[in-house]
Symmetry: C2
Subunit: 202 residues, 2 copies
DNA sequence: GTCTATATCCAGATAGAC
DNA sequence: GTCTATCTGGATATAGAC
């Protein structure tokens, strides 16, 4: 394989992915047709099908790329000192996801397809596992700071993390659907919840 | 209008709605075609289009009916004595919704469409408002029982309710998508969270 | 590698007989 | 009110010229 070709291909794929993402932001996800992406990319049908096997392939790859970048952001949080409050961590996470995806609606479309397509469900599951690991690291540190010993902190973190992810998903969902959704109020409410209940007082 | 007709129409509509719901349980939501519903109902295309304007109309009505029944269940909770713990209330609610819809995936499909279709979004918004009212009633009672005065209890309930709804949505979402989702663990984790933080001790 | 043009398919919706 | 048969539109994917 010639050496120029590989870079060229990668560049083309990036262009196509970017165009697809712009379409998804505007017209939703199932609402975006291949014709839309073709027009937005400035390329042609034939060119795109050379780089992606089919629509699902294209969509899957675009989504994975974006979400992967987000979990990279989160990885830094666990290292911050002083450790931010859980509400702040959720805030950082959901605003990053929302900004990068250019609109909350896209994620909801991804979930809907994942609920029907095993292939995409596997993909999402992998990313959620990764996310869970990062959140668990953060919450273990947080609970230790609240006075729990290492084992108890990790145990508690592991149990809590699915709910934290649920709270984040709820935020995204409501932001996407409810016209009067009050994002700051949602995040403020989190700050008033004591996730450390039952932990020994310092 | 003849008196028989009205009942007859209602009965037909119930049949069609039931058939549609069975299809949604099996094949998902966008995966269900009018042809599927037609076959499942035993009726014909013409017959169905007489009762429903189009697919979106049918789908919307079926969904609203189901959700309406669920919020009726919830209405009773606020009257229980002793008042159950918040985690228990969420448990009752999500299990009822899940059971009635015959699979978590359906709700996710509804959300996805609501994120794109203003008509369905209005519908969902209305139901969420209704739900919010019920949850607010419950939480106001709960916080009063925890020692807050009436005004503070209602204020706190109002702020917390969106998050509670988010937690419920997260449950439904994860149940629909993640193959290794541990429902009891999710609900147990809720029991360990202190939603009353900051309230005066009794 | 890329384009244009098009084949193929399948969905939603309707017309008109009964 | 209900059925059968069909129209219409739009989407994905491909064929073949350049």
């Amino acid at each position: 394989m010639p050496k120029v070709t590989e870079d060229y291909r990668a560049e083309r794929r990036r262009e196509i992915a970017a165009a697809a993402l712009r379409c998804f932001s505007r017209k939703g996800f199932e609402g975006t047709s291949m014709a839309d992406i073709i027009a937005e990319s400035g390329l042609s049908a034939g060119a795109i099908y050379l780089h992606y096997k089919n629509k699902q392939d294209l969509v899957g790859q675009v989504v994975v790329d974006v979400l992967r970048n987000r979990s990279a952001d989160l990885a830094d949080i666990a290292a911050l000192d002083p450790l931010p409050h859980p509400a702040e961590v959720v805030r950082i996470f959901v605003t990053a996801v929302t900004r990068e995806l250019g609109g909350e609606g896209i994620l909801v479309q991804v979930w809907a397809i994942a609920a029907r397509e095993p292939a995409l469900a596997d993909l999402v599951t992998g990313l959620v596992d990764e996310l869970s690991g990062l959140f668990t690291t953060y919450f273990t540190a947080w609970f230790r700071q609240q006075g729990l010993d290492a084992a108890a902190a990790e145990e508690r973190a592991r149990r809590l993390v699915p709910v934290i992810i649920g709270i984040s998903q709820g935020y995204v969902l409501q932001a996407a659907i409810l016209p009067r959704f009050d994002a700051p109020a949602y995040l403020d409410a989190l700050a008033a919840i004591d996730f450390t209940a039952g932990a020994p007082v310092l």
